[in-house]
């Protein structure tokens, strides 16, 4: 009697799973097809080739876009982890006048949608000559209000006696933060780090606005504009997409547990 529902559950899950995976598989398979096989829609390529990859990697700035994205997402993540922790720690553990106001001020920025800020950021970038520069691409993301909020929650759950012990041992206030508190919130840092990196790796609107020359493009902007120009060369478009998707999926397969726990952690804590 109990078998049937379980079997049905598996069937539904498998069908859903196929729907989840198929687009990515189809993308990969298309990327391995020579242009001539593109429209016969056989599932497997008859003469699989890496020629499309060679073409995309050599005829575009793809490697450069990849490095741009890596650098920008990397720098942003380090900055967010450090400054959001510092601010979160201060708001959780130090006593000072105006604490409530500072916290509310930072939290309030969560309500403002990016679209509203993009125009002033652009005006600002024109004024200071940041258009089409790395600094221009990354300055809006250097800190995140959500991260400050998340880190504050985690630092609050640390017992204050730990910090006092550090002070008695002669650490400066920064030493207490950096040597005592910071290492203790590693799970939160991992979650925030993963989300910040992914968010910046996949970011599209602001990079599209601020980037003007091909060599400055980030991966999503590069893929979008390349695909737009490639017209109906779907084998090349799917190759570019595969090149954008594969690194993320590989990283996910490696850090699957941490990433999923990170989602849960941020979801539950907030």
């Amino acid at each position: 009697m109990k078998r049937l529902p379980t079997i049905l559950a598996y069937i539904v899950l498998v069908v859903g799973g196929v729907l989840m995976v198929f687009p990515l598989v189809w993308m990969l398979l298309t990327s391995l097809k020579p242009a001539g096989e593109l429209f016969n829609l056989e599932v497997l390529p008859r003469a699989p080739t890496l020629d499309n990859y060679r073409q995309v990697l050599t005829q575009t700035d793809f490697p450069r876009w990849f490095l741009n994205s890596l650098g920008i997402a990397g720098i942003t993540t380090v900055s967010v982890l450090f400054f959001d922790s510092l601010a979160g720690y201060t708001l959780a553990k130090l006593r000072f006048p105006g604490k409530e106001i500072v916290f509310v001020l930072i939290l309030a920025t969560l309500m403002v949608p990016t679209e509203m800020l993009v125009i002033p950021w652009y005006v600002m970038s024109v004024q200071y000559g940041w258009v089409n520069s790395y600094w221009g691409i990354l300055f809006p993301g250097l800190m995140s209000a959500f991260g400050v909020f998340l880190m504050r929650q985690f630092f609050q759950s640390l017992p204050s006696e730990l910090m006092d012990a550090g002070r008695i041992d002669g650490l400066s206030e920064f030493g207490v933060f950096w040597r005592v508190a910071f290492p203790l919130v590693r799970p939160a840092l991992a979650a925030l780090g993963i989300f910040t990196f992914l968010g910046n790796w996949n970011a599209f609107l602001w990079p599209l606005v601020i980037i003007q020359s091909p060599e400055m493009r980030t991966l999503p902007v590069g893929v979008a504009l390349f695909s737009g120009e490639a017209n109906t060369a779907w084998h090349l478009i799917m190759t570019a997409s595969s090149l954008a998707v594969l690194p993320v999926v590989l990283v996910f397969l490696f850090f699957q547990k941490q990433i999923i726990e990170g989602v849960v952690l941020t979801g539950v804590k907030s």
Binding site: L94, R95, M116, V223, A224, W234, I237, S242
Partner: protein, 298 residues
């Protein structure tokens, strides 16, 4: 006494030192630009500062009579009311299924989660290839079962629904992971007590599972709503040569703002539309939090 006072002062000084850079960032990169957007919405913008002039609330009255804005607004609302409930229901359904099986649960969870981390730009291009009216694999498969080829993204009546489905495909795993964690946090004892009382499976779901999942549901609904209200990347890439088309049927507020500001350089009017988007997001989020976050006591 003197010592304690100086300790407190020392702590406050450290606090201000720690907060100096973050506070400067939030003031100059987040708060000031938000007010600047309000300010810009009152001006006719020009690259030459001397030619910018104050127009008062003209942009706001122009919004009332802008049919394209009306279309973008209607589409954005449609995306949200269509997308959020479907996304929540599907996410909960998959999470319940996953909870009911013991083997391969982690594998399935990973499979459903993968689309969530893939770049939306790439996803959009993959789907526009699959859904291509003449050469797409989807129409090919529909052909096998005798369904005529559909135009999907190129049909004014199907495009919005198609975009919504693609966004749900990408977000589903996020909802599943959250709901699964929520389900696992419900104490077993509630279910055992219900079984002893002879409650039906529906009653258990309705009176135990759903109410105890409420915090997760609220979080997912708010995140999902904000996401759909700001829909941009997918819409741009799914119909790249006619962004927002066909005939404006997929245009969103975010895309309209982008087009106004960076294709037509009407930055003042675009800023006014961002103020409208801000107001909508603010009101909806507050209402959702109020309606959905009623506490459940047991």
């Amino acid at each position: 006494m003197k010592l304690r006072f100086s300790l407190a002062t020392r702590e406050a000084l450290w606090a201000f030192a720690f907060l100096a850079i973050p506070l400067a960032f939030f003031l100059f990169i987040r708060i000031y630009p938000a007010f600047q957007a309000l300010w810009l919405s009152l001006f006719e913008w020009n690259a030459d500062p001397a030619k910018r002039h104050y127009v008062g609330l003209e942009h706001y009255s122009r919004m009332l009579a802008d049919p394209t804005l009306g279309k973008a607004l209607r589409n954005t609302v449609l995306y949200t009311v269509l997308g959020v409930p479907f996304q929540l229901i599907l996410g909960l359904a998959v999470a319940l299924l996953l909870q009911s099986v013991t083997r391969l649960r982690d594998l399935f969870r990973a499979i459903y989660f993968t689309p969530y981390i893939t770049p939306a730009v790439a996803v959009a291009w993959v789907f526009s290839w699959m859904l291509s009216p003449n050469f797409g694999i989807v129409n090919e498969i529909l052909g096998w079962v005798g369904i005529p080829a559909q135009k999907f993204l190129l049909s004014p009546s199907q495009a919005l629904v198609t975009v919504t489905a693609i966004v749900i495909w990408q977000n589903l795993g996020f909802q599943v992971v959250l709901f699964l964690a929520g389900l696992e946090s419900i104490p077993r004892t509630y279910y055992e007590a219900a079984r002893i009382d002879g409650a039906s499976p529906w009653a258990v779901f309705r009176y135990i599972t759903l109410p105890l999942l409420n915090p997760v549901t609220v979080f997912s609904a708010v995140i999902g709503t904000i996401g759909f209200l700001q829909l941009f990347t997918q819409v741009v890439n799914l119909n790249f040569t006619d962004q927002g088309g066909p005939v404006g049927s997929t245009l969103t507020l975010a895309l309209y703002i982008y087009q106004l500001a960076f294709a037509r350089f009407q930055l003042g009017y675009a800023a006014a539309v961002t103020v409208l988007l801000f107001a909508i997001i603010l009101v909806i989020t507050l209402v959702q939090l109020r309606i959905l976050s009623r506490r459940v006591e047991y």
